[in-house]
């Protein structure tokens, strides 16, 4: 830290030092922080996703052939954590007021032991959450883009898009799920399909949840995309039509590519929301992450620990999503089109 401050004052005292082409001490320090941060992110991501993928692979493929502890059973034993917790809490008891931190550590060790035990259930729940989120966001996007285009360029038809958006955004998602699940005969139709609920194919509640999230998410995504569409200068479409492209082609080849770049940050926000509000699928009996967690909590009564662990898994999913979208944003970045480049750099003089 002191190194960095020194470098700053040095640059301020001697302007020539600041304009030297070589990196300053401060730049190097910041560079190494960045690298360390990146490395940590990558490592944490590898551990988190490595665990999830290993779990999924094991539970559905390997456990069947008699290898390891069996499907849904933890890879590790919680015993060491339990032993650690026991010794920590006895230490806490003997140290009096000084032992309070040991008590906290004991709780953490207990939570770790619980984590090992319920990890397999959370991993299975996370599978549903991931699949629900990914399919709904992608399907929702496919509806949202035409919807937003209709809203902005649709002429008289834009009222259709407006009505859809307002109806969907204006009613609670849970109510929409209930209507789809209980109110419509969808479950009967889906049950008639011989593949639903057999083997790897989840039961009908799962498909209804995807439908619900797709419809709901499409309305929100359409609004984000509409905002971005309106950011693109009108002259862009005029110029596209002036070279002989039709209005549709102009939107497709000129307006949309810019729009989607502008929309990435807001769209990421929707993705992050969806990861968490996919937990509402639990209300229609989809055994996703939150459903599993609250199920375990109510049977073990370890609410704090279970929801703490649940939060960690959600956080892992959300951070992975924002990280990936950040990469996508940088990958498709174009000079002069949105993006934060140039705004976070310090003035060169």
């Amino acid at each position: 830290m002191t190194e960095g401050t020194d470098a700053t004052t040095a640059t301020e005292r001697d302007p020539v030092a600041g304009t030297e082409p070589g990196p300053t001490a401060r730049d190097r320090l910041r560079g190494s922080f960045d690298r360390a941060g990146n490395l940590l992110t990558v490592l944490a991501g590898l551990v988190f996703w490595g665990w999830l993928l290993a779990r999924w692979l094991y539970d559905w493929v390997l456990a069947g052939s008699g290898i390891g502890p069996g499907a849904g059973e933890a890879f590790l034993s919680p015993a060491p954590f339990e032993a650690l917790a026991a010794s920590l809490s006895s230490a806490a008891g003997s140290l009096g007021p000084l032992g309070i931190p040991f008590g906290w550590l004991a709780s953490a060790a207990n939570a770790a032991a619980l984590g090992v035990e319920i990890g397999p259930a959370l991993a299975t729940g996370a599978w549903y959450t991931v699949i629900l989120t990914l399919s709904s966001i992608v399907l929702g996007f496919c509806i949202a883009v035409p919807l937003a285009i209709l809203r902005v360029y649709g002429g008289p038809l834009r009222w259709l898009a407006l009505a859809y958006t307002e109806l969907i955004r204006g009613t609670p998602l849970l109510a929409q799920l209930f209507v789809l699940y209980y109110g419509l005969p969808l479950s009967a139709w889906l049950n008639d399909l011989s593949i639903v609920g057999r083997g790897f194919v989840p039961g009908y509640a799962f498909w209804i949840a995807i439908l619900g999230f797709t419809i709901n998410g499409s309305a929100y995504q359409a609004e984000y995309i509409r905002g971005a569409l309106e950011t693109v200068d009108e002259g862009q479409l005029t110029a596209a039509r002036a070279i002989g492209l039709s209005k549709f082609e102009g939107i497709r080849h000129v307006v949309l590519p810019q729009t989607l770049r502008y929309a990435i940050p807001a769209w990421t926000n929707e993705l992050v929301y969806l990861i968490k509000y996919s937990s509402l699928a639990g209300f229609i009996t989809v055994p996703e992450l939150y459903y599993r967690g609250s199920d375990i909590a109510s049977s073990t009564l370890e609410y704090t620990s279970v929801f703490g662990l649940l939060a960690i898994v959600y956080l892992g999913l959300v951070l992975s999503a924002t990280n990936v979208m950040g990469r996508v944003e940088r990958r498709v970045a174009v000079p002069g089109l949105g993006g934060a480049e140039g705004r976070q750099q310090e003035p060169t003089e």
Binding site: R241, A242, I243, G244, L245, V254, P257, V334
Partner: protein
């Protein structure tokens, strides 16, 4: 800049226009096949809401002509260009490009726009594409050229406007003058019959204007048919084959540059040229 409206001036222009219109509408109806004027505009009317922006404009432009449109702001020059390129729907009147009636209901406006190149005041390069791809987009999607051929053509056009070295730059990385030259190259690549310029230099510093005007001068030398809305009187004087002075949606006066500059027959025209020469000196 606002010219006082004199009853006298307006009355005269209206009479002249009606006179012109009568002369013109009589012969063409019998001989539509005559392709002498490349671009023919007959009694064009256009309103935005209650405001009538074009009030009966008739104009003929021959192949190879460079017509410069001048007039106070709000006189309808830009609207006229947009009508020519089907970017705005007209209320009444006719526009012909060669033998084709642009304004006919069965004419595909996308076909017309391919034959009419347009250069905009605010340039409007496709912001997400490099200079080269700004040009290849139309060649690929409209002309259906192969990627290879489109690329070659784009590079040739960039070379023509002196920007061969900027092919991979994005618009945000180019200066205003460079952007406008790419804009011209993009329009030229479609092999247009006519090029329309809507105040191509008015968003640019004088210094940057020159590089654009140089490119336009070269086009004039190559015999390109051009309709140019501009306040660059140096360009008008040097390159125009005719100057049309518009005011209040009507053609006040039209003639060769020498006559309009030195000896305009309408007071309004004289006043306009005097005003802009003051502005520019």
């Amino acid at each position: 800049m606002t010219n006082p409206r004199t009853d006298d001036g307006d009355g005269r222009t209206a009479d002249d226009r009606r006179g012109d219109g009568d002369e013109r509408t009589a012969p063409p109806s019998s001989a539509t096949a005559a392709t002498d004027p490349l671009l023919r505009i007959e009694d064009l009317h256009k309103s935005y809401g209650a405001e009538e922006v074009l009030r009966g404009v008739s104009l003929e432009i021959d192949r190879g002509d460079v017509e410069v449109l001048v007039g106070p702001s709000g006189s309808g020059k830009s609207t006229l260009l947009q009508c020519l390129n089907c970017l705005t729907e007209i209320d009444s009147g006719h526009i012909y490009l060669g033998d084709t009636e642009v304004t006919a209901s069965d004419t595909d406006p996308n076909e017309i726009r391919q034959q009419i190149g347009m250069v905009f005041q605010d340039i409007n390069l496709f912001a997400h594409l490099t200079a080269r791809k700004n040009i290849t987009l139309g060649l690929r999607k409209v002309r259906g050229m192969s990627a290879e051929a489109a690329r070659e053509r784009a590079d040739a056009e960039l070379d023509r406007v002196g920007l061969a070295d900027q092919a991979d730059s994005y618009p945000a990385q180019l200066s205003g003058g460079q952007k406008q030259r790419v804009g011209i190259a993009r329009a030229l690549a479609m092999d247009p019959e006519v090029m329309l310029f809507d105040e191509p230099t008015s968003a640019l510093d004088p210094e940057l204007s020159n590089e654009v005007l140089t490119v336009m001068d070269e086009l004039v030398d190559e015999g390109m048919t051009m309709v140019v809305v501009t306040h660059e009187m140096r360009f008008a004087r040097g390159a125009a084959s005719g100057i049309t002075f518009l005011a209040d949606g009507q053609i006040v006066e039209r003639g060769p540059p020498e006559r309009l500059f030195e000896n305009p027959s309408h007071e309004r025209t004289a006043q306009f040229f005097e005003n802009i020469s003051h502005d520019h000196d």
